[in-house]
Subunit: 155 residues, 2 copies
Amino acid sequence: MQTTTITPRWLDAEQQVIWRAFLSGTNRVFTELDAELRRFGLDLGEYEILVNLSESPDHELRMSELADRVRQSRSRLTHTVGRMEAKGILVRNACPSDGRGVNARLTEHGYALLVEAAPYHVESVRRALVDVVDPADFEALGRAMVAVVDAPAAE
Amino acid sequence: MQTTTITPRWLDAEQQVIWRAFLSGTNRVFTELDAELRRFGLDLGEYEILVNLSESPDHELRMSELADRVRQSRSRLTHTVGRMEAKGILVRNACPSDGRGVNARLTEHGYALLVEAAPYHVESVRRALVDVVDPADFEALGRAMVAVVDAPAAE
DNA sequence: CATCAGTGATTGAAACCTCAACATCGCGTA
DNA sequence: TACGCGATGTTGAGGTTTCAATCACTGATG
């Protein structure tokens, strides 16, 4: 019998430091954003839903399309959208062109909430990340994250 | 009456692109890591607990110290450690030098689990981030994250 | 037209996290 | 010694996410 053994390619000391800074730094950023959004009764996941709807025609989007854009599972999105609907932030309607589909659409109140929260949100993004990082490093960060997203999916 | 009005300093187009890449990229990295760790019945939060205990004398750490290192609330850590204890990964003992304190210590089984999972974990860190990013950009990423962590806390 | 595999969305239970309240203990001070 | 504030951990309730199962509909195939 033979097991597939892995010879670990450990990170070197510097990579290790960078990796741990990544863990701490991302944690710090998201903690800060959530703290700011909480003042509007939102979290980052809900805020991204608002943004994506607001950028779509009629402030409306199919659930599945929305799930892809905010990187949430369909199930999670159903639950979250259900709560947001209960708060009057958006409404759901059957999709006219596809009997399986459901459209989520911002209400007036939901759009007003986004308009109100957005300036504070962008300020927290600056405070936590954009304004504290050297501009050249910030651009490199962008390239790095694009490379991550564009990397082929694991098997 | 007068309200404090904010003149939003919106992100410019390029900053916007980088910010969204950051959201997608970090999500991609953490999704990949969790998927790999799930094969060992762990998530990233639990894995970081294992790592921090394993790097400490006697594989043991005060709960509060551990909470700081893994950036989890005390409450969350109590719950998580409780579940890990139930699985036999670690044990809790009263701290001899401080009646309030509790030490968490890895069991043999817990350490063996870490030893087993670590090579796959590091491989996923490489696959998701380290190996797909240009080395110079990776270093810049490190500087950026250090700047984020070192930034003064918001009021 | 009948079937059937695939897609879109939801459901409910279990697992997990958050939040506020609480219990306990250490330490400085009078 | 007694007081009281601050720190350490835990608890349980309530809210959120995950996971697998399910329902409904579409489109293709025979």
